[in-house]
Symmetry: C2
């Protein structure tokens, strides 16, 4: 009865993860360089902005930049949308030559050395790696023993389509995750970044009814007007974003609350959290 | 060099999880009772079929059946679609009285005793519960010590919308998960089932631009033609489904392969798998 009475008293306002983000100091944010922003405009008007991850897949990211600068993607479409998996775009089985400077057969940039990364541990167990955490703004799996880290496939992650191993893909065909994190792809495919704006433009597309979500009819393909680097756009049109420094005290508080929701909606804080349920905060530069 | 040569040799065909499902014996499948199938027809023609979970939330499931039989949902719509989270439907803030027999304030059916459940352990660590696995066809978190189990919020899971705790919701407003498993909701909200057909009809809807994904304009609401129990439909129209027995040897093989993809696409089997990446196979009855 006493517990009931106490529960009925108006609770103090308890912080949510969003509150932490909203009140984060300027020092907790890092600007994304314009050369690391890939801007994809759909012909119907939607815009998707992707942050590239050159620290993890330098050759593939250099390719993506070269493909954008070389106008490789003129005429590209979204041609595959598989429910609870990926949306994929590019030229789809094209013979178009790679622009100059693009490496047709990049190395398998699936993991990298942990040296040089600042890793904040997740603090919860992970099914796919000895440990999970956040490295320089990115969700990663890692092995302290092997001293290797890999970008994790989370919602919004962008990777390079490829054929069967040992092919690693050139970068002309990209996909974004639009469902439950397909972490089994970690260490098997090159991730080059993540969608920081407009993922809903991809996730809400009709699902393809062909094998593994390919659109059966070319009339279903979703036309892409342009794919450009922000650094190649006129200054006035150029989008600018910042992400939360995952080594900051603010991020540590955000992470802790993500694992222990205690605001009024929740009875039982989980006491743990999945790597891909801690989205690193990203926002338009104020 | 030798490794390179070996790798270049044509590999033996290695089984995928889909191969296991395709070759599963009849004994590995269990029919879903017609009283456990909720059939939702969108006015635009799409059909969504939900398997109910009376073993986990008996009062809430009884409510859902009573709401369907009492035609409570006449005029219902999908009125909220939040990206990477949920699609939600019902009457949205209606004063319509509950049909006879519906329990307005059900108990908090967030966990249940493990006694009576046949649990197959996942075999990988879980961030949200002491252990995870599959109980009578459902993904669950559980505690051997507390002897309690809870349905897990995975892609396609269907739960009961509610206001702030200790309200548990009546069942008139339901949601389906359309993104990364929001496992923080486990043990905080009543799950009543999962979508077994047509989740793509919900996941591909336009996202709401209001707070937490509500459609701002009623013109955006997606009309629902009917929500019925399969057991109340004419036999000729009635859909029939079966799910894989999660205590079967076939499911054990499927689970093992989900955690260790070794077919030609993969270089590195994960050696582990997330609970929500092991979707229990469900299919139309042949």
């Amino acid at each position: 009865m006493l517990l009931g009475l106490l529960a009925a008293a108006p609770p103090a306002k308890l912080l949510t993860p969003s509150d932490i983000v909203a009140s984060a100091p300027a020092s907790a944010w890092k600007t994304i360089p314009a050369d690391d922003l890939l801007v994809m405009d759909l012909a119907n008007g939607g815009q998707i902005v992707i942050q590239l991850a050159p620290a993890f897949a330098p050759v593939h990211v250099a390719n993506v930049r070269g493909l954008a600068r070389g106008h490789y993607w003129d005429g590209a479409t979204v041609y595959r949308v598989q429910d609870n998996y990926v949306a994929q775009w590019g030229l789809n089985e094209s013979d178009k030559p790679w622009p100059a400077g693009v490496t047709a057969k990049p190395p398998a940039e699936y993991t990298r050395v942990v040296r040089g990364l600042s890793i904040t541990p997740l603090g919860s167990p992970d099914a796919y790696a000895p440990a999970a955490g956040f490295a320089d703004g990115w969700p990663v799996g890692y092995s302290a023993k092997a001293r290797r880290a890999n970008l994790a496939h989370c919602y919004g992650s962008v990777g390079v389509g490829r054929d069967l191993s040992p092919d690693t893909g050139t970068g002309g065909e990209l996909y974004a995750v639009i469902g439950q994190a397909p972490r089994q792809l970690d260490r098997n495919i090159a991730l080059v970044g993540r969608v920081v704006e407009g993922i809903d433009r991809l996730s809400s597309l009709p699902r393809g009814t062909g094998d593994i979500g390919f659109y059966k009819d070319k009339a279903e393909y979703v036309p892409i007007a342009s794919i450009r680097l922000a650094s190649d756009m006129p200054a006035a049109e150029r989008p600018s974003y910042e992400y939360m420094d995952t080594a900051s005290a603010t991020f540590a508080r955000y992470l802790k609350l993500r694992a222990n929701r205690h605001d009024a909606f929740y009875d039982v804080p989980a006491g743990g959290v999945d790597l891909c349920n801690v989205q690193v905060p990203v926002r338009k530069k104020p």
